[in-house]
Symmetry: C2
Subunit: 223 residues, 2 copies
Amino acid sequence: MIVLKDIKKSYFLPKVTIEVLKGIDMEVAEKELVAVMGPSGSGKSTLLHIIGCLDRPTSGTYLLLDVDVSHKTDNELAEIRNRKLGFVFQSFNLLPRFPAWKNVEMPLLYSGVSAIERKQRAFEILEKVGLSHRANHYPNELSGGEQQRVAIARALINNPAIILADEPTGNLDSHSGKEIMEIFKGLNKEGVAIVLVTHEKEIAEQAGRIITIKDGVCYSGCY
Amino acid sequence: MIVLKDIKKSYFLPKVTIEVLKGIDMEVAEKELVAVMGPSGSGKSTLLHIIGCLDRPTSGTYLLLDVDVSHKTDNELAEIRNRKLGFVFQSFNLLPRFPAWKNVEMPLLYSGVSAIERKQRAFEILEKVGLSHRANHYPNELSGGEQQRVAIARALINNPAIILADEPTGNLDSHSGKEIMEIFKGLNKEGVAIVLVTHEKEIAEQAGRIITIKDGVCYSGCY
Ligand SMILES: Nc1ncnc2c1ncn2[C@@H]1O[C@H](COP(=O)(O)OP(=O)(O)OP(=O)(O)O)[C@@H](O)[C@H]1O
Ligand SMILES: Nc1ncnc2c1ncn2[C@@H]1O[C@H](COP(=O)(O)OP(=O)(O)OP(=O)(O)O)[C@@H](O)[C@H]1O
Ligand SMILES: [Mg+2]
Ligand SMILES: [Mg+2]
C-alpha cells in the first residue's frame, strides 16, 4: 500500500541547506495501524506530508497503492489525496471563517455530495468525536482539544482508505485521547490503514508496529 | 501573589450563552510551581488568560501581586502584563513574518533595551531551549516542537516574575519535554512563580501542587 525507497528531503534556505530525510526505506501494508516516533525536529511531519502527497521528496521512489507517485502532476496528486487519504495536521489548519461543521464537510465539496447530505454527515461525525454541542462554533471559539477533534472529524468524513494523523491526541486529556484512539482502532478493524505520529508511548503501544525516525533515516520498525 | 475569588466567565454567542467558569476560588503563592489539569474544554486556557490579564472575567475579584486588577484599564493591564508576566500560548501565536530570534526578542521591544542587547539575549535564550541552530528560521520553517520552544523562549526573555504556560510540552518528545521542565524548575528555584496547564500526568507530578478544574469550578488543589 505504501512503499518508500531511499526517500530524501532537503530544504534549501538562502544561506544553508537542511537535510531532513537522508534516505528513508519503509513500508506500510493494507489494514495496518502503525505509529511513528522520533525526537522533535527529526522529520516526522515532513515524512507524513510526503506520504500524504502534500509535499514532494527531493529524491527517491514512492509507491502509493501500487502507483509510482514520484512523477505525478499536482492535479493527479490532489485527485489521489482527495479520494483516498484523510489527513490530520499537527497545526489543525482549520479555516477561521467557517464554523466547525463547515470545516468538517470541506473534503466532501469536491466529491459531488449534496449540501443536505454533507451537513448531515458532518454532524454525525462530530457526534462521533464528542463535539456535536460545538458544531456551530468558529475555530477561535473552541479550545485546543476541541479544534483538534474538529480536525480529526474532517479527516474521517470522506471514508478514506488511509488516515495520516500527526500527533492527533497532543492537545487532549487522557480520557479524550482514549476515545479518539478507540475511533481509529475501530476504523482500522474495518480495513482503514492508519499512520499516526505521536510522542506518547501509551498511544504508540496501541499500534501494530512502531517506526522510529532518527537522524533522517528509519531507525527501527521499518517493515 | 495570585488570588481569585468567585471568578466567572461566560461567552455570549448569538443564540446561546456558554458558561465556562462558574465561580473559581483559588490562590497561587510566591515562588510556587503549580500545575492545572482538567478535561478538554473545561476552561483551563480561559482561566490562564484571565490570570494573565489577556481576558476579563464576567464577574468576581482578581488580585495580582496584591493589586485588584478587575477594574484596571486595558493600558494598565498591558503595563502589568509586559513587566511581570511571561506567557506561553497553547497555539504558540508566533509572528509568521519574523524569524525565530525576532519573535523571541519581541517582549523586550517595549522595555527600552537596545537592539544589540535584544538580539544577544534572544540568541542566549534560544541556546537554553536547544534551538540556536534554528534562530533564523521563520515559524513555517520550524517543526511543531521547535515552534513550541520558540514560544517558551519568548516567555522567558523578559525575566518575568510569573510564567503562565499552556501545555508547554504538548508537542515535544519526552526528552525535549524533560529539558523544558528542567528550565522551568530552575527558574522556580530562583524565585519565579509558575502556573502550567498540562494533560500529562508525569509533568503535573513535578509541580508542588495540582489544581483540577472540572465543570467550571476548582475541584481540588485550590490553595
Ligand atoms: N471565544 C469563545 N467563544 C465561545 N466559546 C468559547 C470561546 N473560547 C472558548 N470557548 C469555549 O469555552 C470552553 C473552554 O475553553 P478552554 O479553551 O478554556 O478549554 P481548555 O480547558 O483549555 O481545553 P483544552 O484542554 O482542549 O485546551 C470550551 O468548551 C470552548 O468551546
Ligand atoms: N519549510 C522549511 N524550511 C526549512 N526547514 C524546515 C522547513 N520545515 C521543516 N524544517 C526543518 O526540518 C526539520 C524537520 O521538521 P519536521 O516538522 O518534519 O519535524 P518533526 O519530527 O515533525 O518534529 P516535531 O516533533 O517537533 O513536530 C526541523 O528541524 C525543521 O526545522
Ligand atoms: Mg511534527
Ligand atoms: Mg486549552
